[in-house]
């Protein structure tokens, strides 16, 4: 535990260094301290997962009245593993990235506070510590979104959405946790867990629903997701990377910790609700990712998609545990947890790469990019591998986790209860549907953004970003490859985290080996062998191709229908690439297209200019949230009439209120 405290201390020191050091050195000093802290936290988490120990720490000195309680068990350590790994990369990235507003004292120090809070949330073991770290995480990230508001005017509205949603969520979580203490169990997680069985079932369900609302909104589950595709893209890229890979994972962590850890699983319908949230999120996120043209918005929607799959896994695990299937439940939980870590790495890498693209081209609109593979080869490779992982290309990390999830769901079919089986079926359908849609989204992101010819002068003049940034992106590609090729390496750690999450000690569902092998359930994959096969075939094909070729390939103009005049504007754009799918799913997406034709004065048969606009708004925001906001504003306007600035009226209000209280109490 001491070592973990050292890690937290280093992150705090990094925050202080960021706020105090002079301009020339503060980025480097705070980044070095921060990445060192994250590396130590990583090693601590790894050791806990290897040994299965649980370490605790309590001090009354830091927070008044309650003190700070920290506990790292394998479940918490699994999430610390993810946050700290991404934390190292973002600190490193910041050395090359931070300039202007991001290199200011406030931004650097807030960034380190954000990293610190992401390490404390999964290790907090009392309500006060958790909520303190939670708010630290929310507020620091909120302020970080506003860092560069001078250049990103949309950041203000994004921050407002985020601020309201996260504070409502935090209130809901706090209320839920307080409801759990209504039996006088105190605020430590150990006591809460020991006494939660004395709560009435209704109280427990009420508490779970409140907590679920808060955590699900942080995780970005549809329909509580509206802030996410606004806030994640507007933040500076290292912050986006942390938000999208680690902060959403904290929502998942909260659901598991409270639902499974403190409330011991509750009843089946809780988990059915979680899985249904997941099904809706996965489909909605994947669909919007295919039609987004803003690179970072696309990534944000794909986060909603993957979080949906994680929620399906968590929900399936809970439902299976309550249906008397502990082994399959542990399998589903392992799938969800592996996907969390795999997602943290590849989504972190993709957001950092998006930041590199934005830095190099001054835009993140895919319709203005193109041809970046020639000028930014390293970034292109990072995006290709990470996109491959998210598309679940076999032998990359997304595939291993989705395969585990499918195994959990398929074997969940053996449960007798109908609602659970229906949820499993919906989970399988969501997994199948999102697979194809994710492929479209990321073929588009890579194919339009990095291949072809550049569609703007910014993209044409791009050049590769600094060594620190490419190094940080490369660091985040490692897990995508290693988890994909050798998932067996992670099975012991994963299994420990999953069993700690479910609080059960059943037999492990896994057989140990290099690949993934599920004991008793006749399911196995050997990604390493598949990779050897793929590489062997590619080498043979390459060798044959070389042997057959008489000379080097000749460069010729692309075929242009007989005319040798082709401009980059004739290429497909991200919008046109996704147009067929947008048309297929028009009922869900409700796209709005406008064509505006201006004719020349002389004749209506000739056009002077043509403006085509295509917008895909978030339908849930427009139909669900806007009316609520309108009502809230109207109530606010009405309440304003009470406040006319007259001191006499305010005194009268006070007097009447006092009278009412006296009457009611008396």
């Amino acid at each position: 535990m001491t070592l973990f405290l050292v890690a937290l201390g280093l992150c705090a020191a990094a925050a202080v260094a960021g706020a105090t050091f002079p301009r020339g050195s503060r980025v480097v000093v705070s980044s070095v301290l921060g990445s060192l802290g994250c590396l130590i936290a990583f090693s601590v988490a790894l050791r806990i997962l290897l040994t299965g120990d649980t370490v605790t720490f309590h001090t009354a000195q830091v927070l008044p009245m309650t003190g700070v309680s920290l506990t790292l068990d394998p479940l918490g350590a699994w999430f610390v593993l993810a946050s700290s790994f991404v934390g190292v990369a973002t600190c490193l990235y910041n050395v090359g990235y931070a300039r202007g507003a991001m290199a200011s004292r406030s931004a650097l120090s807030l960034f380190m506070v954000f990293v610190l809070s992401l390490l404390v949330v999964p290790s907090a073991s009392s309500i006060m510590t958790l909520m303190f770290a939670w708010e630290l995480m929310a507020l620091s990230s909120l302020l970080l979104i506003l860092t560069d508001q001078a250049r990103h005017p949309d950041a203000r509205s994004a921050a407002l959405w985020y601020g309201v949603m996260t504070q409502l969520g935090a209130a809901s979580i706090l209320l839920g946790l307080l409801v759990m203490t209504s039996n006088g169990s105190g605020q430590n997680f150990a006591d809460l867990s020991a006494h939660s069985s004395t709560l009435s079932p209704v109280t427990r369900s009420f508490a779970f629903v409140l907590v679920l609302l808060g955590f699900a909104s942080k995780a970005g589950a549809v329909p509580l997701h509206v802030w996410l595709p606004k806030a994640h893209p507007e933040a500076p890229s290292p912050v986006s990377a942390l938000m999208s890979s680690s902060m959403v994972a904290m929502g998942i962590y909260g659901i598991i910790r409270v639902g499974e850890g403190l409330l011991h699983g509750g009843t089946v319908w809780w988990w059915i609700a979680v899985a249904l949230l997941g099904v809706v999120s996965a489909f909605y996120g994947a669909l919007h990712a295919t039609t987004s043209t803003d690179l970072k918005r696309l990534l944000a929607y794909s986060t909603i998609d993957i979080i949906g799959l994680v929620l399906i896994g968590v929900g399936a695990a809970g439902a299976l545990a309550d249906s008397g299937q502990p082994v399959i439940s542990r399998l589903a939980m392992s799938a969800a947890l592996l996907l969390v870590v795999a997602h943290a790495a590849f989504k972190g890498a993709l957001f950092l790469a998006a930041g590199a693209v934005e830095r190099a081209t001054a835009t993140r609109n895919l319709d203005l990019l193109g041809g970046l593979i020639h000028t930014m080869p390293v970034t292109a490779l990072v995006v290709a591998l990470s996109a491959g992982a998210i598309m679940a290309v076999p032998t990359l990390s997304g595939f291993s986790s989705e395969w585990l999830l499918l195994q959990g769901l398929l074997h969940g079919f053996s449960v007798v209860s109908t609602p659970t089986v229906i949820v499993m079926l919906l989970g399988v359908i969501a997994l199948a549907l999102t697979g194809g849609l994710t492929a479209v989204a990321f073929v588009k992101a890579f194919g339009i953004g990095f291949l072809g010819q550049s569609r703007s002068s910014g993209a044409a003049q791009a050049h590769e970003v600094s060594k620190f940034m490419t190094l940080a992106m490369g660091w985040l590609v490692i897990p995508s490859v290693v988890i994909g090729v050798m998932p067996g390496l992670f099975v012991p750690l994963l299994d420990r985290a999953a069993s700690s999450a479910l609080g059960t000690s059943t037999v492990s569902p896994f057989t140990r080996g290099a690949g993934l092998e599920v004991a008793q359930l006749s399911g196995a994959i050997q990604p390493a062998a598949i990779l050897i096969g793929l590489v062997a075939v590619m080498v043979i094909v390459w060798a044959l191709n070389q042997a057959l070729a008489q000379r080097r390939a000749r460069r010729v103009d692309a075929w242009g229908c007989g005319r040798d005049w082709q401009t980059p504007r004739m290429q497909y754009t991200a919008t046109s690439f996704a147009e067929p799918l947008q048309r297929v799913f028009a009922d869900v997406l409700r796209p709005q297209s406008d064509v505006e034709v201006t004719h020349v004065a002389e004749s209506r048969y000739y056009e002077q200019s043509l403006v085509y606009e295509n917008r895909v708004a978030d339908i849930l925001e427009a139909r669900g949230y806007r009316p609520i906001i309108a009502v809230a504003l109207r109530v606010g306007q009405f309440a304003r009439r009470l406040q006319n600035g007259s001191i006499h009226r305010y005194l009268a209000f006070g007097f009447v209120a006092l009278l009412v209280i006296l009457v009611v109490v008396g």
């Binding site: 290309v393 076999p394 595939f399 399988v428 194809g436 010819q453």
Partner: protein, 319 residues
């Protein structure tokens, strides 16, 4: 399904790869011949696709001016993903090398990897046609992939495993499953998927070169010479794989289940017979139907998806 490598597993794997690599172009040739005869033409000899491939191998390599390394890697990736899928799938024998990894998800995502590589290669030269082909191919792929996955999952319910050899072995042990309602629904779904994934009429017309209607041809327009041969061979082998899987998942009889030379021979012969029958059937569908408009395709593919979901539901209800 242990990890020990037997000589028969190696032979079966090699047989499968060679058979699909040489046999799939013949299947395409047979389909072209049947169509020609049905339309009153003589048609090219059935080994024409193989001759085309040989001719392409001797041609010069040409690369579009703005293309990147992706144009060179994509054919290799298409070939690699298809060959590995062919090698590990139970086509001739239920015990090929790595048969234990021949999971539904592995095969589906290997094929999806090949499609994604082809789509990226279409976008690489930065032309209008390439983008159009890629966009359409990915749209169709995105709608066909779920139906494929869910239809095979419907088959896995009865056998309790998503491993393809296990599905076939348990079907051999329970012949009464073949005519169950769930199987028939899944068969309908898979047939639609196979037609969509192999780009046959009514989804795509493999012999068209009219720019605005073509899908796959538009995507690979910039390929020439040996690289075009690789892409075409990869696509043809994918057709061979899908036909073989369709045959073996529903009527696995004839596939070699144990290690003897005789059963391997029987596996080869039965696979050839079954795939030729499927090719004849698909060719007849092609003769009898017109190509659908692009924006009518989602209805067909959604129909396939609904069939596959119904197959799973029926499978769960009747198990």
């Amino acid at each position: 399904m242990t990890g020990t490598i037997s000589i028969y597993a190696v032979v079966a794997t090699l047989l499968q790869v060679v058979m699909v690599a040489l046999g799939a172009p013949l299947l395409v040739g047979i389909m072209a011949k049947v169509k020609a005869r049905a339309e009153g033409r003589v048609g090219a000899p059935i080994n024409q696709p193989l001759r085309d491939l040989r001719k392409l191998l001797t041609k010069e390599r040409l690369h579009a001016r703005h293309a990147s390394v992706v144009l060179v890697i994509a054919p290799m990736l298409i070939m690699a993903s298809t060959v590995v899928a062919v090698a590990i799938s139970p086509l001739v024998s239920t015990h090929p090398l790595l048969g234990s990894s021949a999971d539904i998800l592995v095969i589906v995502y290997l094929l999806l990897t090949g499609s994604a590589a082809a789509a990226l290669a279409g976008l690489d030269p930065g032309t209008a046609f390439g983008g159009m082909g890629s966009s359409r191919a990915m749209t169709i792929g995105a709608l066909a992939e779920p139906a494929f996955l869910v239809a095979v999952i419907a088959l896995s319910i009865q056998s309790g495993s998503s491993n393809l050899p296990s599905i076939m072995v348990s079907t051999l042990a329970h012949p009464q499953w073949v005519l169950g309602p769930s199987r028939l629904l899944a068969l309908g779904a898979l047939l639609i998927v196979v037609i969509a994934e192999t780009g046959r009429i009514p989804v795509d017309n493999p012999s068209t070169h009219l720019e605005l209607t073509m899908i796959h041809e538009a995507m690979i327009l910039e390929y020439a010479g040996p690289e075009l041969a690789l892409v075409t061979l990869g696509e043809t082998m994918r057709l061979g794989l899908l036909f073989s899987l369709l045959a073996n998942l529903f009527l696995p009889w004839g596939i070699a289940t144990h290690s003897s030379t005789l059963s391997l021979v029987a596996g080869v012969v039965s696979l050839a017979l079954k795939t030729v029958l499927i090719a004849l059937g698909v060719a007849l569908i092609e003769v009898r139907s017109a190509k659908l408009r692009l924006f009518r395709l989602p209805e067909l593919l959604a129909g396939g998806f609904v069939l596959s979901v119904l197959a799973v539901v029926t499978g769960l209800v009747t198990r």
